[in-house]
């Protein structure tokens, strides 16, 4: 059992709420990212429960058209920008310095700034609901619908949306800079790039994507703002602008963004599978190259969101979209062969990781249909796309987030989550998820367009919509055991110890939770599984840790 005898956590000179509000400790900041993200996850979830309630049956029962447009626009905006992207950044914030043996991130104060811009940005987004209507032109906000003219987007909701997103985008970019400098410059001795944990690699590639792509959407948002408020002519055809220009600039960011929304979840899954199969990740280097390949290729496919505009060179984007399936497949096979001939323990983190594999498989496959351009002519802007995006983002990323949450909760809090309740959550979530989103394949094929508040009974979509609504509420129900588990375990879960899972990487070589600067001593690093090596006596004898002895430096913080 790999325990480390460390000095107890140093007491800080700030306490309570003030400590949290002013912290620059990556671990506290990471936890705040998680909390903030889950809050917006619930808000975004409530918004879409209203959508599903409305769509359960034909006829407008609960909301009016304009408000319905606000509901789904804000659902998507919140989920993308204030839930999934930040929560993955939050996990990265917590785990990366620990995994590379660093005491904190490279720029701790900028780290705190990055976090605090998020609740502010999210608040601005939501403020629209109170000032005459939130943004209602979809999370994509295509002009001219998002321009300031009658029957389009008059009112401040759209402007608040723009400003909120610029703020959140800036938070992301600063975070990316922080991660890159930390990863390049602060790894422990012996940890070469190809000995870094896979999670750190996914954070690296994600940060490159964020750094290069996010500023482009900032420029699109600013151009839209100028059109709306200063009589600009970027996108308004009435004054010489081009609506398709917006789409090109927007999707140049928003396609790489989908990899930002999943790569770190894939990294988390890549940490969990080896631990729970008791074997190393199969094909570590292939995995690294596949991840980098996805990042690079991700910049070349953006116009596959625009196949029906009549303004796109179709064969190129179709080819690149098909090609990006190859590195994704490489990863899928590497994951499966990590499990193959292993000795699997079906604990909750592994269950969610397996759910990730299965659901992401479906999401990747149904995406390939849209890569075939003529098929996309039938499927674009229908519920097929809603099915695809949720299979990859919910079935993929959210299941990955849940896997990571159950895996890292003990490290963050020192307590174990309840396994049975975790499994109950998994089963409910899995069933609810598939019940909600699988019928959307049929709905899309049958011709149900996206973003409509109501449909005619004559279209024959009633049963599938009702099914999807039941599934949606089942997902909501699955949040009950989740929250119960979190709050009860925080108070009275079993003590976790340093390394409850027999982990492979450095974060498990310190206490749970870790002390302020993470490590007193570090084991020698000779592979991508330093703790595994230590546990099985595969490090250089001189560097083994069990007996720390007197400190050679007179600099230990004594508390």
């Amino acid at each position: 059992m790999a325990t480390t005898a460390l000095t107890p956590a140093a007491s800080t000179y700030r306490s309570g709420l003030y400590a949290w509000l002013t912290t620059t400790d990556h671990k506290k900041i990471g936890i705040m990212y998680l909390i903030n993200s889950f809050v917006f996850f619930f808000i975004g979830g409530l918004l879409v429960l209203a959508v599903r309630a409305e769509l359960a049956q034909p006829g407008l029962q609960f909301v009016e058209d304009q408000f319905y447009n606000e509901l789904f626009s804000m659902h998507a905006t919140l989920m993308i920008f204030v839930f999934i992207i930040p929560i993955l950044a939050g996990f990265a914030n917590y785990v990366v310095p620990l995994q590379i043996g660093a005491p904190d991130m490279a720029f701790p104060r900028i780290n705190a700034l990055s976090f605090w811009m998020l609740p502010l940005g999210g608040g601005l987004l939501l403020l629209g609901f109170l000032t005459g209507g939130a943004a209602a032109a979809g999370w994509t906000s295509y002009p001219p619908l998002s321009e300031d003219r009658p029957l389009a987007s008059v009112g401040s909701g759209q402007d608040l949306w723009i400003v909120g997103l610029v703020l959140i985008g800036t938070s992301s970019i600063l975070g990316a800079i922080n991660f890159l400098v930390t990863i390049f410059k602060m790894r422990a001795p012996g940890m070469t790039l190809f000995r870094m944990p896979i999670l750190v690699w996914t954070v690296l590639v994600t940060s490159v994507l964020v750094l290069m792509a996010t500023p482009v959407i900032t420029s699109a948002l600013i151009m839209l703002f100028i059109d709306r408020n200063y009589g600009g002519s970027f996108f308004d055809p009435r004054v010489g602008g081009d609506p398709v220009l917006y789409q090109n600039v927007f999707w140049f960011y928003s396609h790489p963004a989908v990899y930002v929304m999943i790569l770190i979840a894939m990294g988390t899954v890549s940490e969990i599978l080896p631990v729970f199969s008791r074997k190393p990740l199969f094909g570590y280097k292939a995995f690294v190259f596949a991840t980098a390949g996805i990042g690079a290729l991700g910049f070349s496919v953006w116009a596959h969101h625009m196949f029906t505009t009549g303004s796109v060179y179709l064969p190129f984007f179709s080819l690149m979209t098909f090609l990006i399936a190859v590195p994704t497949g490489v990863k899928m096979f590497n994951w499966i062969f990590t499990l193959w001939r292993g000795k699997l323990t079906l604990a909750t983190p592994l269950l969610f990781a397996l759910g990730f594999l299965s659901m992401f498989l479906i999401g990747g496959i149904n995406g390939a249909f849209s890569a075939a351009v003529p098929v996309d002519f039938a499927l674009h802007d229908t519920y097929w796309v809603v099915a695809h995006l949720h299979y990859v983002l919910f079935g993929g990323s959210v299941f990955g987030v849940m896997a990571g949450f159950y895996f890292y909760f003990p490290k963050m809090t020192g307590r174990m989550l309840n396994e049975t309740v975790g499994k109950l959550q998994f089963v409910l979530m899995f069933i609810g998820f598939n019940l909600t989103f699988f019928p959307m394949h049929q709905l899309g094929l049958a011709g149900m367009p996206r973003r409509i508040a109501d449909y005619s009974s004559a279209a024959g979509w009633n049963d599938l919509n009702l099914l999807a609504t039941i599934g949606g509420f089942t997902i909501a129900v699955s949040m009950v055991p989740f929250l119960w588990n979190v709050f009860v375990s925080l108070r009275s879960g079993p003590i976790a110890g340093d390394d409850p899972w027999e982990g492979n990487t450095l974060e498990w070589a310190t206490s749970s939770p870790p002390p302020p600067y993470n490590f007193d001593r570090l084991p020698e690093i000779c592979s991508e599984r330093p703790l595994f090596d230590l546990r099985h006596g595969r490090t250089h004898p001189a560097a083994t840790m069990p007996d720390p002895g007197p400190a050679p430096q007179p600099t230990h913080s004594a508390g």
Binding site: A10, P103, A106, F107, I173, A176, I177, N178, L180, V181, F184, K185, M186, R187, A188, P189, L211, M212, A213, T214, P215, V216, I217, T218, S219, A220, I222, M223, I226, D227, Y230, G231, G232, S233, F234, V239, G240, G241, D242, L245, N248, V249, F252, P516, Y517, F519, D520, L522, A551, P552, Q553, P554, T555, H556, S557
Partner: protein
């Protein structure tokens, strides 16, 4: 380090100092951070430039008839460009000066750089006023929108750079920099060169390249 005879420096009191740390050298964390930040700024301007090229390519005539002679290199924009380029030189002189511990030259060159930056902004402002009086505004179709957006955001970045350099100048006057510790100077100068390069590109595109 353990048996030093001097009073322990703050670094040595730190619990972090006890950890073996990366001695690989190379560029410092703040400088790497600034380079990455500049990369993100390059991408931001790329979005704006892409919009400009797209708008320009699909316009029937560029510049439009009414503005065919509005953008003039003299008397303001051309000289302002020369001053901005000169300020990059003085900025680099400042960096070289502090690298060899010549604080006087560093402060002098940095002050000149800040002054040149301010003068550039003033000249840009005067130019905007002139253009406005000739009828070119943000709402003057695609030509006006792209002109003011591109030069306006560049100007905002110059303004940010002037602030950054002023802080560096202030800290320099307070004696906070030496040949061994001047990351902020390196970082700020890299940013300033970036701002200058963007202007050279912009100036060439907007003023020097013929339209159709």
């Amino acid at each position: 380090m353990a048996s030093s005879s001097h009073a322990l420096t703050p670094a040595e009191h730190s619990p972090v100092a006890g950890l073996a740390h990366d001695e690989r050298g190379g560029i410092s964390n703040p400088v790497l951070g600034m380079l990455l930040f500049i990369t993100s700024e390059v991408m931001f301007f790329s979005g704006l430039f892409a919009a400009y090229f797209s708008v320009r390519a699909s316009a029937p005539q560029w510049p439009p008839e009414e503005f065919s002679h509005t953008l003039q290199v003299l008397p303001l924009v051309g000289p302002a460009t020369i001053l901005l380029i000169a300020s990059s030189f003085t900025c680099q002189f400042a960096v070289w000066a502090i690298r060899r511990d010549d604080r006087t030259a560093f402060l002098r060159n940095m002050a000149v750089t800040v002054a040149l930056g301010v003068i550039f902004l003033v000249m840009q402002g005067l130019d905007y006023a002139q253009l406005g009086s000739e009828g070119l505004t943000l709402s003057s179709g695609t030509f006006g929108t792209t002109y003011y957006t591109l030069t306006g955001f560049h100007g905002a970045h110059v303004f940010g750079g002037v602030i950054m350099l002023s802080v560096v100048l202030y800290r320099g006057m307070a004696g906070q920099f030496s040949s061994r510790h001047h990351d902020a100077v390196e970082g700020a100068s890299l940013y300033w060169h970036f701002v200058d390069v963007v202007w050279i590109l912009l100036f060439s595109l907007l003023y020097l390249l013929p339209g159709k």
